[in-house]
């Protein structure tokens, strides 16, 4: 395949994605991140610090801070942004058209990889444009040095863009990873990379931050600043007092550093092309997922009856009747049908664990486990009518708000049932604060899932948003604890349950408002 042909294929794919409204939102998020990466000198929230210090906002430090924050964001959020490119070709039928052309699997994958890089690269580009604006806005240095400003983007952000683009494609082309399970797995892979990739011994230089930190430490030492106990931190952090500053004029990359960055890009390209070994080119018989799989994941062709007998209209007299309960059962079926047996087995094990573990472990271990396990089930809320094209049928049905309510209640039922035994233990122990926090969480999770699913019409937004929220709670951050897992003196330390319930009501209100607006827009 010629480079020109590859470029045209990638460009067409990029255009298709860039013309979606969601793309503008991702660019806006990049601008927001650029703002956060260079915070006001007096703020208590920072993204990058070296102990009690930060660099003065010159081009080198601003560019590095923005590029590093961008690298973290692009590898997590960016992954979910570029996910699903092969699935989309399958759903739209474009894949079958391409399959009938001489385009071979490696060429198709290379074009998709390049298109992923373009999408993520454009987000990095927006960040790079935001950096000088923020440097001037903060007013600590008026001299823009393009080389020092952009070097971190080229050496840190770009290789990670390539890695993320390749990982998204690899997951898309690997049947077990192509859906929600892949999204969940990536979150934990990202955690490992973001934390482990900062160390000096990280493979291929990790995320590339080590060389930068070493350079900063050398400059601080040269300026006789006290470095004892000063740890580098990357990630949104609350600090007790504003950071002191030092002047850092950037770093000169060593040949070894450049070589590891290049190796990372090459490794990414290899990973992107690796699925050519099993990619089925949209032939369902060769491992590509059939459009509508059965619960056990295998297609079940049903023999078509040969002679339909349209004998005449049915005669049963139709009477209206209390149908809400059956609607709720239907929504529960839609939500839960398709979950494999092993999923139910683990859910049952968590339920049993809730009964047998010591009470102190119930909020800290069992409850978080119970409320992460159905993450793929919850992420279906608000998306399935659109995903399966059923909304074109339901548009002509009465009482759409009643259906939305039934859908939310089905999510609430799943949430409550998943953590039923923790509730029983709290009640038995007369832990009423725990019961309240549990109830707040039970309302919050389906509301969040339904709201994000309805707004985005995609599973990914909830999966990408809920996992960090849950992780923060499971790691003992009380500020975001929506379920009462973090305890101080035996009482939930997170936000008050009524506040969580109120937020849930707001989210539910957003769901109904979105539905009404979409129906009104027609």
């Amino acid at each position: 395949m010629t480079a020109g042909r590859l470029g045209r294929l990638a460009l067409a794919d990029f255009r298709e994605r860039a013309r979606r409204p969601a793309y503008v939102l991702t660019l806006a998020a990049a601008v927001g991140l650029g703002y956060l990466a260079v915070p006001d000198p007096g703020t208590r929230w920072v993204i990058m610090q070296l102990g009690d210090y930060r660099g003065r906002y010159n081009s080198a430090y601003t560019g590095t801070a923005t590029a590093l924050a961008g690298a973290l964001w692009l590898t997590l959020g960016g992954f979910y942004v570029v996910r699903g490119t092969i699935t989309r070709d399958e759903a739209t039928g474009v894949g079958r058209l391409l399959a009938a052309t001489p385009l071979r699997g490696p060429g198709y994958l290379a074009a998709k990889f390049l298109s992923n890089v373009m999408v993520l690269g454009s987000m990095a580009g927006v960040l790079a444009l935001t950096a000088p604006v923020m440097q001037l806005a903060r007013g600590e240095s008026d001299t823009i040095e393009p080389g020092r400003l952009l070097l971190p983007f080229a050496l840190i952000a770009l290789p990670l863009v390539a890695v993320t683009a390749a990982a998204a494609l690899l997951f898309d082309a690997t049947p077990p990873l192509r859906k929600g399970l892949g999204n969940v797995i990536w979150f934990f892979v990202w955690l490992a990379v973001a934390l482990g990739g900062q160390g000096p011994g990280a493979p291929l230089g990790g995320i590339g931050v080590h060389g930068v930190v070493a350079s900063m430490r050398a400059d601080m030492t040269a300026r006789h600043l006290d470095l004892s106990g000063q740890e580098f931190s990357l990630g949104l952090t609350y600090i007790d007092r504003p950071l002191r500053t030092f002047v850092w004029d950037g770093f000169t990359p060593s040949v070894d550093f450049l070589a590891t960055r290049l190796a990372l890009i090459l490794a990414a390209a290899v990973a992107a092309l690796l699925p050519a070994l099993w990619f089925g080119r949209f032939d369902p018989a060769r491992g590509g997922a059939p459009p509508q799989p059965r619960p056990d994941g295998t297609p079940a062709p049903v023999a078509a009856p040969t002679a339909p007998v349209f004998t005449g209209p049915p005669r049963t007299v139709v009477r209206p009747g209390g149908a809400f309960g059956r609607l709720l059962v239907g929504e529960l079926r839609i939500l839960l049908r398709g979950a494999p047996r092993w999923w139910w087995a683990v859910a049952a094990a968590i339920t049993v664990a809730g009964l047998v573990v010591p009470l102190s472990a119930v909020p800290r271990i069992v409850l978080p486990a119970a409320w992460i396990w159905p993450v793929l089930i919850w992420s279906r809320l608000g998306t399935q009518r659109h995903e399966y094209g059923v909304e074109s049928l339901l548009g002509g049905y009465p009482a759409p708000r009643r259906r939305t309510l039934a859908e939310w209640l089905s999510g609430l039922a799943v949430t409550a049932l998943a953590a039923l035994t923790p509730l029983v233990r709290f009640v038995a122990a007369a832990d009423w604060a725990g019961v309240g926090a549990w109830a707040g969480g039970a309302l919050f999770v389906p509301s969040l899932a339904l709201a994000l699913g309805t707004l985005s019409r995609s599973h990914r937004l909830f999966q990408a948003g809920y996992l960090p929220l849950w992780y923060a709670t499971a790691n003992g951050l009380p500020l975001l604890d929506f379920m009462g897992a973090v305890r101080t003196g035996g009482h939930p330390a997170g936000p008050p349950a009524p506040a969580v319930a109120a937020l849930s009501a707001l989210l539910l209100g957003a769901v109904f408002a979105t539905g009404a607006a979409r129906r009104g827009k027609g």
Binding site: P290, Q292, P293, R294, P295, P299, A300, P301, V302, A303, A304, P305, A307, P308, V309, F310, T311, G312, P313, P314, R315, T316, V317, V318, R319, P320, G321, G322, A323, F324, R326, L327, V329, G330, E331, R333, I334, R337, G338, Q384, Y388, G389, V390, S392, L393, L394, G395, G396, Y397, P398, A399, R403, R519, G520, K521, G522
Partner: protein, 299 residues
């Protein structure tokens, strides 16, 4: 009675899909014909309360269906051109869910679903997940759901797509029977689907209602103006630029053309009895070419 009064639909970007169209429908079957992109589906979606018109009114038994869509939705059976299903549900579960969404009592829903599955010959397959159904079987599920609530208004958009010829004939017969005491609106670009069942035909092009009448009315308009002739390939190519050609069949003697013209286009052209396809073509062709000579000559 379903009334669409001076209805328009302008999409974002200024695309006018439906342009001041008025249709009043009582019991009977209205066949809505038109080329692709004529505005049929937009009109059907507005009539089915899916899409709100940007102008005009839609009334069902005098009730404003735009302001109070649930009144019409309670009485409506709608089959869109494209629709999906929940692949993990069985046909029976899917129909039960839709019956609940319609607000039908449990007992009536059970009996009705049994009848409908029998009607569309899916009783045996009713317990299997819809994900394994063929396109034609899914279409039949779609047909079944339109009849769940014994609708007084049936709106079906390209309903026979995906059905085999035998199924198409039987479905048309069913529609014909239903139309005895219901409003049935059938949209298609397959003229033969309408020809056999519709007593009332509306031809739509460029978002406007171009003609409405009985099949006999439409046929009467082209009587004596349909010709057949065998010509050479070059003449055939030329003819297509001058006249609406409804058929062109290459034979050993040349190309047998069937075309519309106010008078014999060739000395050996023979007049033939028009069919609905000729009449439809005449209306659509006139829409594309308002100053068309053959129409002018007829006047």
């Amino acid at each position: 009675m379903l009334e669409l009064i001076d209805v328009s639909k302008v999409y974002r970007g200024g695309k006018r899909a439906v342009d001041h169209m008025t249709l009043r429908l009582g019991p009977g079957l209205l066949g809505l014909l038109g080329p692709n992109g004529a505005g049929k589906s937009s009109l059907m979606r507005m009539a089915a309360t899916i899409t709100r018109p940007t102008g005009g009114r839609i009334l069902y038994d005098g009730v404003d269906a735009v302001a109070r869509p649930d009144v019409l939705r309670q009485a409506l059976g709608y089959l869109p051109q494209d629709f999906g299903v929940y692949p993990h549900l069985t046909a029976r579960e899917f129909l039960a869910y839709l019956a609940a969404a319609k607000g039908i009592s449990a007992r009536a829903a059970r009996a009705r679903i049994d009848e409908l599955l029998e009607l569309v010959n899916l009783t045996e397959a009713a317990g299997r997940p819809l994900g394994g159904y063929s396109g034609g079987m899914l279409r039949r599920v779609g047909i079944a759901q339109t009849l769940l609530a014994d609708p007084r208004v049936l709106i079906v958009d390209e309903p026979t797509a995906g059905l085999d010829p035998q199924e198409r004939v039987r479905f048309r017969n069913l529609l014909s029977e239903l139309a005895a005491d219901r409003v049935v609106m059938l949209s298609t670009h397959i003229v033969s689907d309408v020809e056999s069942v519709a007593s009332d035909i509306a031809v739509v092009a460029d978002g406007r209602l171009r003609r409405r009448g009985t099949p006999e009315d439409l046929l009467g308009e082209v009587a004596g103006r349909v010709w057949e002739a065998v010509v050479g390939p070059e003449q055939a190519a030329l003819a297509q630029t001058r006249h609406p050609v409804s058929r062109a069949v290459r034979t050993a003697d040349g190309v047998r053309l069937r075309l519309l013209a106010p008078e014999a286009p060739y000395p050996d052209a023979e007049p033939v009895a028009p069919d609905l396809e000729d009449a439809y073509l005449a209306v659509v062709h006139q829409s594309d070419n308002p100053a068309d000579q053959w129409r002018e000559a007829r006047r």
